[in-house]
């Protein structure tokens, strides 16, 4: 066992040495020692746990800057405190600086007295410059030995001042009282008697004052010194003092009497003056009140007049306005009555006109029938052949126009031209027909009616537009036009609807002229939308009128021909 331990201890430094060798040496050693044994796979070391937190990246500039700031702040504070302490110390050295420091330094007025009255002030700064003792000197046990040289000096001086007679009398009194064993010494001893005198003369300390803490000294005993002084002189002096005191008292009494007299006089004068001034003030106040009342009355009258005038003006204005309003109402009523009268008259006129126009229409229709009958008779009789030829050509042309048969239209137009070449008026009418047909298609009645239906819808959509309607105005108009027309009672929309219904009725009656006149009364968008329809209607009218002219002209020419034959 011991040998084993020895070997272990012997090999310990080798173990340590081995441990310090590198990884590669160990691996080589292991491979050489155990070739068939695979080295154990190195376990991956535990991953370094992620540290949650901020990376403390300290830029040097910021650290230095903050350190500088901190150091400078500390220096400032230190300098301030030392300066303040120095000021406190110097204030106790110099009284003027003490006052200045107490006045201007912060907390100086409180700090300085506190230091002064504390143990620090008494210890280091002298406190109130007064020596404090725990016991008075006279009460101290070794008072005689402990008497100071100052006190001894004072006692000597006082001793010299006292006359010798008094001293002797005192000494004899003392000898009679006491049991004298020793002889009286006329010559004062320097040390013993002085000391005794010093005891009696010395300033006696009575101790510390409880309020202020200062030591209190007793005043020297005056009676004893007075006894030693010259009695006669004292008596004279006392008599003089008493006399002067008496005189002073008398004077005082006299002065007090004089003062009382003067006081009475002044009071009387003051009272009289007060009465006088009070009466004057009363008079002045009364006068002022009177003036003020007069002014007030004047101002009141003035304001009253102004108010009355304004009121009168307002009343006049209001009456004028009311009268104007009444007048306007009357005129409105008159206008309304006239309008109603005119409407009644118009309605009557229209009624009569309608009836007359109806009669005229009947006449026209009956005349046309008569004309047809006459033509039929004439045709049957073989007369008015020219008119019949022209009429046939016109009918063909009309048929071609309605059916839009352009191929036969040319041929029929040529035939019509041949038939009307002799008559100048018919020639002009033919030119009109030709130009009308070339300008555009001539719509039939049905087509015109269909187009008019479309047009009326578009016109109604634009009823709600104004002159400068933009996108939103058009949107509003589109939306409102979808609603029923009965909802809208405005006169503009009603007028447009009336115009459209009237035009429709005219169109149904083949009165193209009337339709065009109705549509021409519209304005703005309605007028612009109906432009093409009016153009096509006009073309149809022109064609019809030209045909009528040619018919009439041909009829006239035939009649003239017939009359010539006859």
């Amino acid at each position: 066992m011991h040998q084993q331990l020895k070997t272990v201890r012997k090999h310990l430094p080798l173990v340590k040495q081995n441990a310090n060798r590198s990884f590669w040496v160990h691996s080589v050693q292991n491979t050489l020692e155990t070739p068939n044994v695979k080295p154990e796979p190195k376990k991956p070391s535990s991953p370094i746990p992620p540290t949650n937190g901020k990376e403390h990246v300290r830029p040097d500039g910021n650290a230095k800057g903050s350190k500088k700031l901190r150091n400078s702040f500390r220096l400032l504070v230190f300098l301030g405190l030392t300066g303040y302490a120095g000021g406190v110390w110097y204030s106790f050295e110099d009284p003027k600086f003490y006052d200045a420091f107490a006045k201007y330094a912060p907390f100086g007025d409180r700090l300085l007295p506190a230091i002064e009255h504390s143990w620090v002030g008494y210890k280091f700064f002298g406190g109130n410059k007064i020596v404090i003792h725990d016991k008075p000197k006279m009460m101290q046990p070794n008072a005689s030995e402990g008497v100071s040289s100052d006190i001894v000096g004072q006692a000597k001086r006082k001793e010299l001042a006292i006359p010798s007679e008094l001293k002797h009398s005192e000494s004899s009194d003392r000898e009679s009282n006491d049991k004298p064993t020793t002889k009286p010494n006329t010559e004062p001893n320097t040390s013993a008697e002085v000391k005794e005198n010093a005891k009696t003369v010395a300033v006696s300390d009575l101790g510390l004052d409880q309020e202020t803490g200062l030591s209190v000294t007793a005043a020297p005993v005056i009676n004893q010194t007075l006894q030693r002084a010259h009695e006669e002189e004292i008596k004279d002096q006392t008599r003089k003092v008493e006399a002067s005191l008496n005189e002073a008292n008398q004077l005082r009494v006299q002065l007090s009497h004089l003062q009382d007299e003067q006081k009475d006089v002044y009071e009387k004068r003051l009272n009289s003056k007060m009465e006088e001034w009070n009466s004057k003030i009363g008079e002045l106040l009364a006068e002022r009140d009177q003036q003020w009342r007069e002014l007030f009355e004047q101002e009141k009258q003035l304001q009253q007049n102004i108010h009355d005038s304004r009121l009168h003006e307002e009343l006049v204005r209001a009456t004028a306005v009311y009268e104007a309003k009444l007048k306007n109402e009357l005129t409105e009523q008159a206008i309304e009555m006239e309008r109603m009268h005119l409407q009644a008259v118009k309605a009557q006129v229209e009624q009569e006109r309608g009836s007359r126009l109806g009669k005229l229409g009947e006449l026209r229709s009956s005349f046309e029938e008569l004309q047809k009958l006459a033509r039929g008779v004439i045709f049957d009789n073989g007369r008015m052949t020219k008119f019949i030829d022209v009429q046939k050509a016109l009918e063909k042309v009309e048929k071609d126009v309605n059916l839009r048969n352009s191929q036969s239209l040319e041929k029929d137009l040529q035939d019509l031209k041949d038939a009307t070449q002799e008559d100048q008026l018919s020639g002009l009418a033919f030119n009109v027909i030709d130009s009308t047909l070339q300008s555009g298609p001539v719509l039939s009645k049905k087509e015109l009616q269909m187009k008019f239906d479309v047009l009326s819808k578009e016109i109604y959509k634009t009823c709600f537009l104004t002159v400068d309607s933009g996108f939103l105005g058009h949107m509003k108009s589109l939306l409102l036009s979808q609603l029923p027309a009965n909802l809208f009672k405005s006169p503009e929309i009603q007028s447009v609807q009336n115009v459209l219904s009237e035009a429709r009725s005219n169109l149904m009656a083949d009165d193209y002229d009337g339709v065009v006149k109705n549509l021409l009364t519209l304005s703005q968008w309605s007028r612009a939308l109906s432009k093409d329809w009016i153009e096509s209607c006009r073309r149809k009218l022109e064609l019809q009128q030209a045909i009528n002219i040619i018919k009439g002209s041909a009829l006239y020419a035939s009649q003239m021909q017939e009359e010539g034959k006859e």
Partner: protein
Amino acid sequence: MSKPVSSEQSLNYKWDVCLSNMVVQSTVGIGIGIISSAIMFRRAAWPVWGGLGFGLGKAYADCNAKLKTFPAVHQELQTVTNEEKK
């Protein structure tokens, strides 16, 4: 070949033009917004919306001006076909 517009259809024609303008210009605005968003603004969405807004605004302004033009209802250029002449 464009047909002539009759006067009663002129307002509807204007509305058609307005709507087509709106579609075209909003598409152009969206396109410009997409391109600018891809090139400059890191595929942000706001340039697309901005382009759309600009396009719609311009279309609204054009439509407003067109609808306010009154009274002349002008006809578009027409190409006359042989059939119409005949």
